[in-house]
């Protein structure tokens, strides 16, 4: 790596440091509690994965650049500048060894938002050329093709045709004035088309109009995952432009964790202005329908099941009650995992880890945390609300020869919808 790019990385990290970050570094007492909250540490036993250690280069930059004492120490040669070797050594910790799940932030006794610090240190690593190849590729595809998995509009259109053929329901493209603009993640288009059908059926029952933008159907924001705000802003801008052009009231983020926080909370800050539309996670929309009596179901699942909380929803998005209320409509045999809701353990594939092929081994180790939670419960079915979690979970379960089907909550609800005569379906 050239020293110029390292210089760029350091400058970028410097740009990221604000009062909260400085207060976090001022407060850390090296108590090590964050390690106990981290599945990467707990499953590997390697202290390098202690969350606060993952931002050590950022701490040094903060101390040396922004504190008088640190400047004196640096001048006296008592502290070493961050160099290329540091970037080399920390790259794996910053990307492969963190799924930005935010569990460490929640247990830190002094209140350090470590997860946010890692999100920010990635900005520096990315511009310094120290982002993993897999993530760089995904980001390039997101920018150039419009989807990190390289899914093009034609693929979506094909799925819409399937939907029409199978159910007679339509997924209207670019329909101005619709109530909802629905975003999808590439995985839902490629792996879980059931989601699209579920949306169509639920919207029909609720009597709401909705649309998909042909220009911005992708919800995933690779810019946030790799840690490049400029790119993240560009990706958010695409959705904002589409939503404003179509004049929708609400944008629905799909069953995906980081896509939701990216568009819902990071988005306005990335593009530098508030939206003139609402952003809701699909579960929030469904919960609203439930409360308004727009969601009618019949029958209950008989399988013993549990719910995997996507980290971004519970720890960074605040969607905790909705899935439980919705599950209550369709099952009586729901059990909670030992650590659930805001304390749930990550599947291991969030924060860009699943897009980073070289992290596969580490990711599967981290999955053991989830495995032990599931082993304890002995459930028949696992429900979740994030396509990325779903894929990671399916892979992990398969690798461990565990025969537990993973279902998206929206689909499960759609399966129990009361089909009202005269309203859609196969008329």
């Amino acid at each position: 790596m050239s020293s110029a790019s390292i210089e760029k990385g350091i400058r970028m990290i410097r740009e990221q440091i604000d009062a909260p970050i400085a207060s976090f570094f001022s407060s850390c007492v090296h108590c090590g509690m964050c390690a106990d909250a981290c599945h990467f540490y707990v499953q590997t036993g390697d202290p390098r994965y202690t969350p606060i250690n993952k931002v050590e280069p950022m701490r040094r930059i903060w101390e040396q650049e922004y504190t008088l004492w640190g400047r004196i120490k640096a001048t006296l040669g008592l502290s070493r500048k961050v160099n290329a070797q540091d970037f080399e050594a920390w790259e794996e910790l910053v990307y492969d060894g963190c799924s930005l799940c935010g569990r460490c932030s929640l247990v830190c006794p002094v209140g350090n938002d470590i997860s946010d610090m890692i999100r920010k240190i990635r900005e520096g690593f990315a511009v310094a050329g120290h982002a993993p190849e897999g993530l760089v590729g995904a980001t390039r595809r997101a920018v150039e093709i419009g989807s990190p998995m390289g899914v093009r509009l034609s693929a979506l259109e094909a799925q819409i045709r399937h939907l029409k053929h199978d159910t007679g329901l339509d997924a209207p493209l670019d329909q101005a004035g619709a109530d909802y603009l629905v975003l999808l993640s590439s995985m839902e288009i490629m792996n879980f088309p059931e989601y699209l059908e579920a949306i169509a059926r639920i919207m029909q029952q609720a009597g709401k109009t909705w649309t998909i933008s042909s220009r911005a159907f992708e919800a995933t924001n690779s810019g946030v995952q790799i840690g490049v705000s400029d790119i993240a802003a560009e990706l958010v801008q695409r959705v904002v432009d589409a939503a404003e052009e179509l004049g929708v009231k609400t944008v629905i983020s799909p069953e995906c964790g980081h896509a939701y926080t990216a568009i819902r909370f990071e988005g306005p800050n990335l593009i530098g202005r508030p939206y003139n539309f609402r952003v809701q996670h699909i579960l929030e929309v469904l919960e609203e329908f439930r409360q308004q009596g727009l969601l009618k179901t019949k029958g209950k699942e008989t399988d013993r099941m549990t719910f995997h909380d996507p980290c971004q929803l519970v720890r960074k998005g605040g969607v905790i009650e909705a899935p439980r209320n919705l599950l209550g409509m369709v099952t009586d045999s729901f059990v909670e995992m030992r650590d659930h809701a805001e304390m749930n353990w990550c599947c291991g594939g969030g924060g860009g880890v699943s897009a980073n092929e070289r992290a596969d081994e580490l990711k599967s180790k981290a999955f053991n945390q989830k495995k032990s939670q599931l082993d304890e419960l002995g459930v028949d079915t696992l429900v979740t609300a994030c396509a990325n979690c779903r894929i990671t979970l399916e892979e992990g379960l398969e690798r461990n020869d565990m025969d537990i089907p993973v279902i998206g909550l929206t689909e499960m609800l759609a399966d129990h919808l009361v089909e009202e005569p005269g309203k859609g379906g196969e008329t």
């Binding site: 090296h30 090590g32 509690m33 202290p47 008088l68 508030p274 519970v314 998005g317």
Partner: protein, 219 residues
């Protein structure tokens, strides 16, 4: 230098210097942090950031059950030396007299016997904290010289206070001087080590709590 002169130094010039460095250093650190600023959050809030911030400052004092189950000894020990240290500092009558004389604030104290017992407890708790730091792979890995220095300057006031009160090691006057000096050492070292957390923890909790409150997230 006689013990009396030593004590006079500790109570006079020594304290002046220590207080100067402590106040200067802590305010410096505080301003350094705050002056970095924070961009306003433009996203639509689901809850109140202010409420979340205030709430987290308080609630983060208690551990999450899930983590407590993994590290009960370390967490309980953390409480013991924090509470012990603060009780000895703020509830021992001669200490209260200091705050009363210098700040005009006073409150009821605890009987000396209880303070003495708390002092012993705190000393053992700090020793255990060091043992844990030296044996736990994570703590050992994270710890720097500064961490051990912070530990030492925290232990010394409690230890020397105990020795002075119980007439151990040195004659009382000399030990009292050593005790006051050890507190001054703590005051001098605090702004330049992790001991800044004594104030900054509130800022850190506030910032995380604010963000969580804004997003309507538990914190």
């Amino acid at each position: 230098m006689t013990a009396d002169a030593f004590l006079s130094f500790a109570r006079g010039t020594g304290f002046d210097w220590a207080l100067t460095i402590f106040v200067f250093g802590m305010l410096l650190r505080l301003f350094e942090v705050l002056s970095l600023g924070r961009k306003p959050d433009l996203s639509e809030g689901r809850g109140s950031g202010v409420q979340g911030g205030l709430k987290t400052i308080v609630t983060r004092t208690l551990p999450r059950a899930a983590v407590f189950a993994r590290e009960p000894v370390r967490i309980i020990n953390g409480y013991v030396f924090h509470i012990g240290f603060l009780a000895v500092l703020f509830l021992y009558e001669p200490h209260i007299e200091l705050f009363d004389a210098k700040m005009g604030l006073s409150w009821p104290g605890l009987p000396t016997g209880i303070i003495n017992a708390l002092g012993v407890l705190t000393i053992f708790s700090l020793l255990l904290a060091l043992a844990l730091r030296l044996t736990s792979p994570v703590l050992k890995f994270l710890s720097t010289g500064s961490d051990y220095l912070a530990w030492l300057v925290t232990l010394l006031p409690v230890l020397t206070g105990y020795l002075a009160y119980n007439h151990m090691l040195l004659p009382y006057t000399a030990m009292l001087a050593v005790h006051i000096l050890s507190v001054e050492l703590l005051m001098v070292v605090a702004p330049f080590t992790k001991l800044t957390h004594m104030f900054s923890f509130m800022l850190a909790r506030w910032y995380q709590g604010y963000r969580a409150g804004h997003r309507g997230v538990e914190s």
